[in-house]
Assembly symmetry: C2
Homo-oligomer: 401 residues x 2
């Protein structure tokens, strides 16, 4: 009782005050003290308001047996169900001579709004004899101009995206699932991220990326159910029936070249994004959410430059298409010699059709975006996320029916 009262008070007080900066550290408690339901029509972690921390891992299958893939997805489902409610995967052993199945570092941390979202990569289908069930849209992304991809950080047969408001809870999810996968799959690469780089809910303020800009103001909000249905969730008829209610996950590790960016003038930076740095307003406008007028001119020149990021990424320039961005900032060491910090944006996007959404948008951006002089894409992967499941089911079950 006392606990419920305390959490309720806190939520009410901060909700009423609309404290943006504070609320970043004070996520509103949800049902079951911070638990996000694992079961549902769609997997959690897509329409869930973005949590503060990411740990994502791609796995390579080490088996060709379809039965082992099925078993792995069943075990992963059971593990995700347990830990998203703040429980251990299996209880601590009563016998001291047993090996704990759950490594235990999230004990007592609570659910922390943990979501675990699973994806299946193109290679998993061929490998396990399921090529006939593979969606046509699930193809490795084409090369884009300027890509400098590291193969060891790209691709993968399976993907686990763990998001939580506590970084140790997110890490634990991937750690545990890697352990559960042992014998069937092995981590290929992994990435932690902090500081969500876009809002996915009307309750969230637009954050700044590591270039100091508000980006993603025009992102889909998951409360926009029409947009979610049109641009994110795969429909019956879009592909094989087993992925209806699912979506496609595309990740791109986008390193920021701070030696270039940090020596660019304020005007130069603002012309790259097409927004003012301080307010986030589109150039020529007063407030962040003012409509973007791509036709406005001043002295015969477009107010928002022809190669500005918000122009080229806007639906008007992309046949009306939008994607759901759910990325994080990352920082991972320093380049020997140059001293350049390897940091930037770990881009994550969900969409209904890569061929109509991410690929043409990224083709345009890769060719023209002014941002390209200060960024480089160093990893890339695509996965199909099966729909959600009901209790008793398992993620991806339709693939085996």
């Amino acid at each position: 009782m006392a606990l419920g009262l305390g959490a309720g008070l806190d939520h009410a007080v901060f909700g009423l005050l609309g404290l943006g900066a504070s609320s970043r550290h004070r996520p509103a408690p949800t049902a079951a003290q911070g638990a996000v339901p694992f079961y549902g029509a769609h997997q959690a972690g897509i329409a869930t308001p973005t949590q503060d921390h990411l740990c994502l891992a791609a796995f390579d299958l080490t088996t060709d047996a379809v039965g082992e893939l099925r078993l792995l997805l069943q075990q992963w489902t059971a593990a995700a169900e347990a830990i998203t409610t703040g429980k251990l995967y299996t209880p601590m052993p009563q016998q001291e001579d047993q090996v704990p199945e759950d490594p235990g570092e999230a004990l007592e941390l609570g659910p922390a709004r943990l979501t675990v979202t699973f994806g299946i990569g193109p290679g998993a289908f061929e490998r396990t004899g399921l090529a006939s069930r593979k969606p046509a849209e699930l193809r490795s992304l084409p090369p884009f101009p300027g890509d400098d991809l590291e193969s060891a950080r790209s691709g993968g047969d399976l993907c686990v995206q763990a998001c939580a408001d506590d970084p140790q809870v997110a890490f634990h999810a991937v750690h545990l699932l890697a352990r559960v996968a042992s014998g069937a799959a092995v981590p290929r690469w992994s990435q932690i991220g902090f500081g969500r780089t876009s809002s996915t809910s009307t309750s969230q303020k637009t954050p700044r990326n590591l270039m100091g800009f508000k980006d993603g103001t025009a992102n889909i909000r998951t409360e926009e159910s029409d947009a979610m249905n049109r641009f994110v969730w795969v429909k019956r008829g879009d592909g094989p029936a087993w992925i209806a209610g699912g979506t496609y996950l595309i990740v791109r590790r986008i390193r920021m070249l701070f030696d270039v960016w940090d020596t660019t003038t304020l005007e130069g930076q603002e012309r790259v994004f097409g927004r003012y740095k301080a307010s986030g307003a589109p150039l020529g406008e007063a407030s962040e959410y003012d409509p973007i007028d791509l036709h406005a001119t001043r002295n015969g020149e477009p107010v928002i430059p022809a190669n500005a990021h918000i122009r080229l990424a806007s639906p008007q320039y992309n046949a009306g298409q939008r994607i759901l961005r759910r990325g994080y900032s990352y920082s991972e060491g320093t380049e020997a010699g140059t001293g350049d910090i390897d940091a930037g944006l770990f881009f994550i996007a969900f969409q209904r059709s890569p061929s109509r959404q991410f690929i043409p948008i990224q083709r345009r951006l890769a060719a023209e975006d002014a941002l390209n002089h200060a960024t480089v894409h160093t990893s890339s992967a695509i996965f199909v996320c099966p729909p959600g499941v009901a209790p008793g089911g398992f993620i991806g079950e339709g693939l085996f029916q």
Copy 2:
């Protein structure tokens, strides 16, 4: 007024309830809405209750000129003073053709209890002709058995430890200071960390490390002023006068070998640490804070094994010496081929005398600690942290007098 009331309520409610897991995300608001004072007899970030996030960078000097080192420390002091109160280093330019000095990604995030702690490494003294001012204790650490150090992640002429409750605020501090250093010093390596791995305040619950154990229960609490004076702060007479009130910072990146650890029995894990996994109590005891009885036996065998971590690290085994641990967990990618996640403990310790504290303790641990079969040290560095300063002064000013 409304804001003050809200923060106060939140603090009061959570303080009264003693919510450990929640308080991890809900740091108690301090003066000036989360600002930790930069000025004082000692540098902040040492006796400060450990924040949730770390970004630490070591720098190499690119100049031999003592005047440039002095200027850099003055500029770093000014920058740290500004950002620890939540301000930009310098205001956003009024002229659009100017380059922003502050990259700006921490705008509107508030101070978030940011502390910036500066250290000077052994090489900086010789390089700038200040060898005669170098403390005798400031020597590169000796090799220890089992070390597998990466040179590119070790050492450095200067160090910046940024800690905050918001990871983007900590990142921004290092990003900004790297930019300010341009022309005088360049980042050599950097490391982000999440999830403090020990308590440094009686107000903090003992966290779990990524092996799932409560470690650091016996750490110095900064409220223990006798222990801080005896074991952490350098005294007049310990070395050159300019470091009195300072301390020595030692960092070690300790990778955990999860393939070994996660397949060890519960009893085996508990015998390695000398504590029960669930409760954190010393073996043979009931509660985490029960005294450690190193003499207890059962069936003629010591209850806490001869090579248990808590035995070998205990003051009784180390001539009464203690150190202040202030480390973080880290996770940074995956080893190609094996799929082993590179994660573990980024160990940070402050002490008055490396030759009487860290070095002999680590010699004993490196030779005998049962934990060594599941860990490997991959980086190492030592720095002297000058004392704190008053307004108008700068960090390290005594070095130039």
